[in-house]
Amino acid sequence: MAGVVVKGRFPRRHVMAAVAKNVFRYLFQGAARNWARNFSSTAPALSSMTLLLSLSGLIGLSGFALYNLEKIESGQASVLHVYLRDDADATDVFTLRSRLALDPRVASVNYTSKADALKHAQSMPGLPQLADSSESNPFPASLDVQVKSINDVAAIDAMVRTNAAVDPVYPTSYDRGAYQRIQAVLLGVAIGGLAFVALLGFVAVTVTINSIRAAIHSRRDEVTILQLVGAPRWMVRGPFIVEGAITGSLAGAAAGVVTFALALAGIAEGSASFSQFAPGVTITVAALAATIVFAAGLGLGSGSSLLSVRRHLEA
């Protein structure tokens, strides 16, 4: 041979820098370059993942709102509004209030005057028009009874509805089964939402796995050469996983922006009605949801790629 190849020594101070540079080059720089080069095969995965994550973000926010709604409804279901006659005697009202306050099943009793009832109605979506359409105040005064256990609401209702101070036509707010109906609807919505997200997730993972498989196929010569010259497994697999992470994080970022923007638009468009239909959804919550969507995209992209690499690269 014309010359001897002499193995060099590694100056210690340069070793870490060389390792870091090589890892960055072969893992991240190579992945980014290949991702850009193979964008056409990655685009379907990017699109489907963005769609999935956007819908997941919106479904997640809706779920959060429904959860809060359920809590509010649950709290309200144990409040019994006892509507008083307009001409009820003050003594009768006082007697009834005292009787309720002394009942061990009752946590508290508050009095709402007709004026307060009107004021409250005017803050409710749809009710201001009704309140304003009548010259007189159509809302009755009431005793708002917080019952300790929701199971005792029916008994309290039965006890008060024949009282002389109570409106004989519409005595209380008690509606047997209303709370159960709300819960059933919420459960159905939750199950439907989760099933939808699961279906979209399956589609997104499948598309991502196939796009990574296409990337592996298009670079099989390069992969073979790397393996034959002794590249460790992480160096062969790593760039594909990083490519998946790039796809996932871009999809997550786009979906996060969509989620945040739609939530902001909802909050800005009708803050009063929005807070009723989507209680608890604030700017902070929307930002948190967007962050979670981004993280989910990153995880989904990396995880799908890892699955694909395990299934197709070693084969």
Binding site: M1, V5, R233
Partner: protein, 253 residues
């Protein structure tokens, strides 16, 4: 007979007491077909050995067993003291860093220059190698194969013989104890093929074991090196260096 693999990730024995390549009763089957059948052989350090035989005789399977691209169905394969037959997939890279490989179709990365192709083998095998060191060592290797002035050329700018020289430089740049070549002259004209064989002889002279699978009977007979002849997966002849092979005709079929 080597010891059985230990519990360590890669079992190795004392290097000086072992051949570089050792096959003990190796059988490799693909389904019901035996590609190699009860093969026993040993290659010593610095040996240049030819592997001949008709197509389908098992030459490529033998090389793949050495490089741990496949596992034996039965038997033991020891490479520089490493039990390749028992090697986990996660440790194969460590074995391959000790085996230089040259292919008939060169297998150079088309987007990298000659120097970068050679440097790649250095840096993927050892991340501690800096760019400067990789560049210098790659240029040294290219200089050694007569391409010191073509380091910046892309593979498509080089002739077939030059590309094969780059592949040889890549295979030896890490100074492995073993180099295997699968039909390294198959795509080259006669003169260029002799140039590559001169290189492989020089490499063996520096103590690297070289195993060349070839159909080129002229090279095999003229170089008078050790010749292993495979037929239907069986080692039918092991000619020591310096003898004219009576079975060499098999390589023609």
């Amino acid at each position: 007979m080597p010891d059985h693999p230990t519990k360590s990730s890669i079992s190795r024995g004392p290097r000086d007491e072992r051949p570089i390549v050792e096959f003990n009763g190796v059988t490799r089957a693909y389904g019901s077909r035996l590609a190699l059948d009860d093969l026993n052989l040993a290659l010593e350090p610095g040996e240049l050995t030819f592997l001949v035989g008709p197509s389908g005789a098992g030459k490529t399977t033998l090389l793949k067993l050495i490089n741990r691209e496949v596992r034996p169905t039965k038997g033991e394969v020891w490479i520089d003291g490493i039990a390749a037959h028992a090697l986990k997939a996660s440790h194969v890279a460590e074995l391959r860093r000790r085996v230089g490989v040259v292919f008939q179709d060169y297998k150079l990365l088309p987007r990298l220059t000659a120097r970068e192709n050679v440097a790649l083998a250095l840096q993927v095998g050892d991340l501690r190698v800096s760019d400067q060191e990789a560049k210098e060592r790659a240029l040294d290797a290219l200089e050694a194969v007569g391409l010191g002035d073509r380091g910046d050329a892309l593979p498509h700018e080089l002739s077939g013989g030059q590309q094969q020289r780059v592949a040889v430089a890549r295979a030896v740049v890490r100074q492995p104890p073993l180099l295997i070549a699968d039909e390294p002259t198959g795509n080259l004209d006669v003169e260029t093929a002799w140039g590559i064989m001169d290189l492989l002889e020089d490499i063996a002279a520096f103590g690297i074991t070289v195993l060349v699978a070839t159909h080129n009977i002229e090279i095999v007979t003229r170089l008078q090196r050790r010749v292993l002849t495979l037929v239907d997966g069986r080692l039918v002849r092991d000619q020591p260096a310096g003898q004219t092979g009576r079975m060499a005709w098999l390589a023609w079929s």
